[in-house]
Symmetry: C2
Subunit: 430 residues, 2 copies
C-alpha cells in the first residue's frame, strides 16, 4: 500500500488552497495514518494568475476543469467548484461515470442531486464523500454514518449555519437589532455580500436534508424542508427569551415518524440547560438521538478554509484506506421515500411576539383569538410603547398542536390592532 492516492483538485478558492496547505503541513502524518501518501496530480480553476498564497507551480495546471473527470492520472476528483448545478454537477457526474471517486464540500449539489450521484458512485464501486458539506470540520456525517450506525435515530437537529449563529450571538451580547449586526458581519467578512442563502435558512436546510438521509435512511428531500430564517428576529425577542431562560438559535430539526419525514429550519427558543444554548459565535453543532446511545452532541467550526479542508482530507484518508461503501451508508436503492410530515400535527410550546397598537381592547382581542383557536397561554408579557407608538406583546403557550397556534394567528391576521407580522418561534425542550 505505498502507491499514493492520486488527487485532482477542481476549484481553488479558499477551501482548495486550504486543502493544498493542509497536505503540505501534515502530509507525512497523513501518509502514516492513511497507509499511503496523498498526492496532488493536477489542479484547475478559472483564473490561473490569481495569487492564492500557495505555490501551485509544483502541480500540473489544467485549464479545462471539466477534463479532470477523465484525467487518467487521478484516482479521486476533489470538487470545490461550488453551485448546485452547472460545472460542479457536470464534473461530478462525469468523474463518477469514469470510475473516479469524488470528494466534495458542495452542500447545495448534494442536497439537490445526492441520490442520483450516490447511485452513480455505487454503480461504479467508487466513493462519493461529502463530510465537509455539513458542519464544516465537524465529523458529523461520520458520526451518524458510522459512529451511531447501530442506532435507530429518532431526531437529528442542530445549529447548521455559522453566519446566523454569529449574528444571533452578537444581537444577544450587544442588544442590537438584526440589520445593524448583519451590516457589521458583512464588513467583517462573517457574512456574504448577498447573505440571503445564509440568513434566510437555505444553507441550513441543505445541510439538514443531508443529515436526515443519514439519520433515518430516507431519500434526500430538500424541497420538503420548511424554511424560516432569522431576518425577522428582533433584539426584543432575544431579550424576552433571556428573561424566560432561553436563547434564540436558528435550529434545523428533522424527525422520522409515522406521519412521514419532518424537516424544518426555524428560529427556536433553546433552554439554557440544552447544549445548543451554549453554541456561540460562528460555531456549528449537531444533536442526534439514538435508541441505544441516547443523545450525542458534536460541535466545532462549521466553515472556513482550515475546518473545511480538514473534512475534505478526512474523506481522502478514508478513500486511501479503502472505504468505498455506499455514500449514505445504506445503498441508495434502500433509502425509503417518505412523504413530508404535516407540521400541524406536531405538538409543542410556542413563543409568539406581536407588535400591536397601544389602545384599549388589543390584549382582549389577542386573548380571544388564542382562546377561540384552543391555544392555552402559559405566560403573556406586554412591554411599554416603542417610538412608533406600538407595544410589544410576547406570549408563551402551553404545549399543544401547532395547528391551533397557526389558527390563532390566522384569526388575528388583518386586524387593525396589529403592526406588522407576528413572530412565531418554537420552543425546544431540554
Amino acid at each position: 500500500m505505498t502507491e499514493p492516492l492520486r488527487v485532482a483538485i477542481a476549484g481553488l478558492g479558499t477551501v482548495g488552497a486550504g486543502v493544498i496547505r493542509l497536505l503540505d503541513a501534515n502530509g507525512a502524518l497523513i501518509a502514516r495514518r492513511a497507509g499511503r501518501p496523498i498526492e496532488i496530480v493536477a489542479v484547475s480553476a478559472r483564473d490561473r494568475a490569481k495569487d492564492r498564497g500557495v505555490d501551485l507551480s509544483r502541480f500540473d495546471w489544467v485549464d479545462d476543469t471539466a477534463s479532470l473527470a477523465a484525467d487518467a492520472r487521478a484516482d479521486v476528483v476533489v470538487e470545490l467548484v461550488g453551485g448546485a448545478d452547472g460545472p460542479a454537477l457536470t464534473l461530478t457526474r462525469a468523474a463518477l461515470a469514469n470510475g473516479k471517486s469524488v470528494v466534495t464540500a458542495n452542500k447545495a449539489m448534494i442536497a439537490h442531486h445526492g441520490l442520483e450521484l450516490a447511485r452513480a458512485a455505487e454503480g461504479r464501486g467508487v466513493a462519493l464523500k461529502f463530510e465537509a458539506a455539513v458542519a464544516g470540520g465537524v465529523p458529523v456525517i461520520k458520526g451518524l454514518r458510522e459512529g451511531a450506525a447501530a442506532n435507530e435515530i429518532g431526531h437529528v437537529y442542530g445549529i447548521l449555519n455559522g453566519t446566523c449563529n454569529f449574528i444571533l450571538s452578537k444581537m444577544e451580547a450587544e442588544g442590537r437589532d438584526f440589520a445593524e449586526v448583519l451590516d457589521e458581519a458583512q464588513r467583517l467578512g462573517f457574512a456574504e455580500a448577498d447573505p440571503s442563502f445564509d440568513i434566510d435558512g437555505v444553507d441550513a436546510a441543505h445541510k439538514l436534508s443531508i443529515l436526515a438521509s443519514f439519520a433515518f435512511g430516507t431519500r434526500p428531500a430538500f424541497s420538503d424542508v420548511a424554511i424560516t430564517g432569522v431576518r425577522h428576529v428582533l433584539a426584543a425577542d432575544i431579550a424576552e427569551a433571556a428573561t424566560l431562560g432561553y436563547r434564540v438559535r436558528l435550529v434545523g430539526v428533522a424527525e422520522a415518524g409515522k406521519n412521514g419525514l419532518f424537516q424544518r429550519v426555524h428560529p427556536h427558543l433553546v433552554p439554557l440547560d440544552h447544549p445548543l444554548a451554549h453554541v456561540t459565535g460562528s460555531l456549528n453543532a449537531v444533536v442526534a438521538e439514538g435508541n441505544f446511545v441516547g443523545r450525542l452532541f458534536f460541535q466545532g467550526r462549521g466553515a472556513g478554509d482550515g475546518p473545511t479542508a480538514s473534512a475534505v482530507v478526512a474523506d481522502l484518508i478514508d478513500i486511501a484506506r479503502g472505504e468505498f461503501g455506499p455514500p449514505y451508508a445504506e445503498p441508495a436503492e434502500a433509502l425509503a421515500e417518505q412523504p413530508a410530515a404535516p407540521t400541524g400535527e406536531r405538538r409543542g410550546r410556542a413563543y409568539l411576539r406581536l407588535m400591536v397598537a397601544d389602545k384599549v381592547g388589543v390584549l382582549a382581542e389577542i386573548a380571544a383569538a388564542m382562546r377561540d383557536a384552543g391555544v392555552s397561554i402559559e405566560r403573556l408579557m406586554q412591554r411599554g410603547a416603542n417610538a412608533d407608538g406600538s407595544v410589544l406583546v410576547a406570549i408563551v403557550t402551553h404545549e399543544g398542536p401547532e395547528r391551533a397556534v397557526a389558527a390563532s394567528l390566522d384569526r388575528l391576521r388583518g386586524s387593525p390592532s396589529l403592526v406588522g407580522e407576528p413572530m412565531w418561534m418554537h420552543i425546544l425542550e431540554s
Copy 2:
C-alpha cells in the same frame, strides 16, 4: 456480501446483554448499513442460570469462555469479561493469534496492553477495536482516528468519568460535600460499591492514555499519567469557583510537546464560556484541538448498557464493512515512544485552597511563601471560621510555572498554621 459477520460474545453482564438487545431491536437496520447481517453464533459467561432479561436459548452456550478464541464459527470475539489482565487478556491474545478480530469495551486492558494487542492484530491482518473503552457511546475514537485524521492534534482533553462528574454536578447543585454525595450516588447505583477506580481518577486516566495515542501517534503510556481524583474537593471549593465564574470538573488533559507527552487527570476550574463547563450529570465529553479543524467537541453518555452496546456494535459494523486498518490508525511500530513531560515546566493559573488556623499572621505567612516562591497572586479570598475554628483561604494565581506553585506549597508544608492538606486545582483557559 450477504454472508453474515459471525460474532461470539464473551461476558454477559449489562453490556453483553445490551449488545444482544441492540442486535434484536436494530438488526434489520444494521444489516442494511453494514451491508450484511451481524449474527451471534455463541455466547459465554460464568453463570449460565442468571436471568439477564434477554432470551439466550437461541444462542449456543459455551461453558469455557477461553475456548471462544478458537471457535471456528466466529469471525469476531466480543470481549466483555473485563479486567486489565487475567481471562480477558488471555482470551484477547488467543483470539487475535487465531486470526479472529476482537471488539472490546475493556479500557483497563487496552490502557495496559493496547500496544502488544495492536501488534498482534496487525500481524494477523485482523481488527482490534475498542470505541466503547473511551466515553462509552460517544464516537470519540472514531472522531480522532478518522474524523480529525487530517490534523496534527495539539491537545486532547475532557471529562472522562461519569461518576465523578455526577458527584461534582450534584455537589454544585446542592451545596453538599463529597462523602455525602458519594454515599447517595452509591445508593442510586451511579457509583460502584468500591468507587476508588472512578473517584481517584484511575478510570479517567485509562481513557486519557488511550486517547493520547490516537491524538498524537504516541505509544500508550498509562503509567505516565499523573492522577489526582475528586475525593478532596469541598463544597466550599465549588462555591468559591462559582463566585469566580468557574465550575469544578475532573478533566483529563494530554498534550504532545517538545518536552514529551504530558498526561494528567486532575480537578480543574473550567470557565463558564468553555463547553466543558456545561457537561453535567454523568455525561462524558472530549475536546480535541487540531491545527486545521480548530476545536472539536464531542459529548454524550459515557456509560450504561445502551451507549456502551452502541459503541461495541458500531465497531462490529465497521468490521462487517471491511475496516481492518491498524487499531491506532498508524501502525503500532510507527507509534513514537515519548518521555513523560515534566509538569513543572508548564505554565498556567492555579486555584489554591488552604484551611488555616484563625490566628494573627497566617495570611502574612501564606503571602510570604507565595512571594518567596515567585508566585504572583491574582486574587485571595478568606472566609469566616468553620465549626472547628479553621478558616478557608482561596487563592487564584496569575499565570506562571507550576514549579513555583509547588515550591510555595512546599514552603508551607508542616506549618502549624495549616489544617490538613492544601488543595491545588488547575484553571482551564477558555
